[in-house]
Symmetry: C2
Subunit: 215 residues, 2 copies
Amino acid sequence: MENFKQVPKATLHRYPIYLKALRKLKSEGIERVMSRELAEYVAIESTTIRRDFSFLGNLGKQGYGYNVNDLIRVFSEQLGMNFDEKIILIGCGNLGKALLNYNQWNHVVGEIVCAFDLAPEKVTGTSVPVYSMDEFALRKPEGCRIAILCISKDIQKTVDFLVDNGIFGIVSFASEHFTVPEHIIVKQIDVVSSIQELVFEANSVSENEGVKSNA
Amino acid sequence: MENFKQVPKATLHRYPIYLKALRKLKSEGIERVMSRELAEYVAIESTTIRRDFSFLGNLGKQGYGYNVNDLIRVFSEQLGMNFDEKIILIGCGNLGKALLNYNQWNHVVGEIVCAFDLAPEKVTGTSVPVYSMDEFALRKPEGCRIAILCISKDIQKTVDFLVDNGIFGIVSFASEHFTVPEHIIVKQIDVVSSIQELVFEANSVSENEGVKSNA
DNA sequence: ATCATCTTGTGAATTTGAAAACAAGTTCAG
DNA sequence: CTGAACTTGTTTTCAAATTCACAAGATGAT
C-alpha cells in the first residue's frame, strides 16, 4: 500500500498461499518460522519466499527467522487487507447459497454483506438479506468494491451492469466467457477448467516425469 | 498425448481459456477465427496464442486463420480430453451438493459418477449415488483418477486416503492447507484466496497504473 | 492467372521469474 | 564477552516465458 516497488505478478499470486499457511501455523501456536521450514510446508523454494517477503520490507532477522504474527500483520497492512471488505454476491442458486452459508469469511477478508437475485422472494434460509437486482443502486453497500458472481445466464449484461455501478473486482463462478474494461480485475473460478488443466498436465507429464505439486 | 514437445506450464494454463472461448464462438455459429481476433477476445497477445497453438501442430492456415471446430477437436484429442473422465466428489455439504447439481459437466470433461460422505443417509436430492466413505474401495468407479474435495475437516487424512487409493488429481475447495506426494497434481479453488489476490492486485496497481484484465 | 494483402509459425531478442551463492547481521552456548 | 553456527536479504547467474520481426504460404479481387 505504501511504496510498492513493482511487486511481480507471480509474487502477488503467492501471497495468499503464504498467508494461509501462516494462519495455520499461528493456530498451532507456532510463533517463529524460518524460510526453509515454510518452504517445505508450501512447496516453494526458500529463496523465492525470502525474495517475495523482501518486497514488503525487512521482515526477518538473520539467525532467527520470521515472527509469524508480525508477518501476518505486515501482510494485512501493507497489502491493504483491512478485514472488512464489503462484498456482495450476485445469484442465489445452489452455489450462491452454499457460499453464503460458508462461515469462514470473518476476519479473513471481510464479509458478504448482502446478495442479489432476480427472484429474491424464492431464496430462503440465508443469513444475509437478498434483494432484487432492480434495487441494486439503492441497496449496494457503501464502499463495496467486490462482487462474487454465481449466475449462469446474462453474464455479460450483468458484468457490464456491475462495472457501471462502481464494482472493480469480480470473482466469477460463471462458466461462460465475458470481457471487461482494462481497469477491472477478474478472478475466474471454474471447476471444469481446473479439471481440464489437471488432465492436460497429467497427460503431458506422463511423457517426461518430474513435477512438484502441492497445496 | 502423442509427441508432446515439452509444453510450457504457462501454456498449459491457458489451454482451458482458449477452449472455453472457442466453444463460445462455436455456439455463436462462428467457424473461422484469426489469432488477432481471439487475442482481443481473451486478452492474450496474438503472438502468444499462435505459439501456444503451435505446440499442438500446424493448426492454422496462412492468410486464413483457424477453423474453430478443428481447433476444438485437436485440443480434445491431443490433450487427452476424452470427455468421459470418471470423477468422484468427496463431501456433500452445501457446496458439494451445489456442484453435484451443476448441470454443465457433460461433454466437457466427463461427469461426476458418484459422491462420498461421512453421513450419506442425510444427503438428499442428488442426481448421483452417495456412498459412505467406508465403502470407498468397493464403490470407487473403474478408471477413476480425479476427485473433487468439498470437506472442511480432516483434510490431510482424507487426502492421504485418496492418494493411497489411486487418485492422482485433486481439485480442492477445502480452505485448509495440506501436502501431497510429488506425483500428485492439485488444483486449489479458494474464494477467500481469490479475493485476497484481487485486493492485493488492486492495491498494487493503484500505485502504478496499467494492467490488462480479462476473463 | 496474377498480384496485393493477409495471417500463420518460428528463429532471435527481450523481458520476466527462479535459483544459487554469499556477505552481513543475529543468536546462543559456554 | 567471544565465537561458532544460523538465517536473512541481495547480488549474480541461470532458466522460462513473452514479444518482435519476418519468411513462407494462402486468399480473393480483378
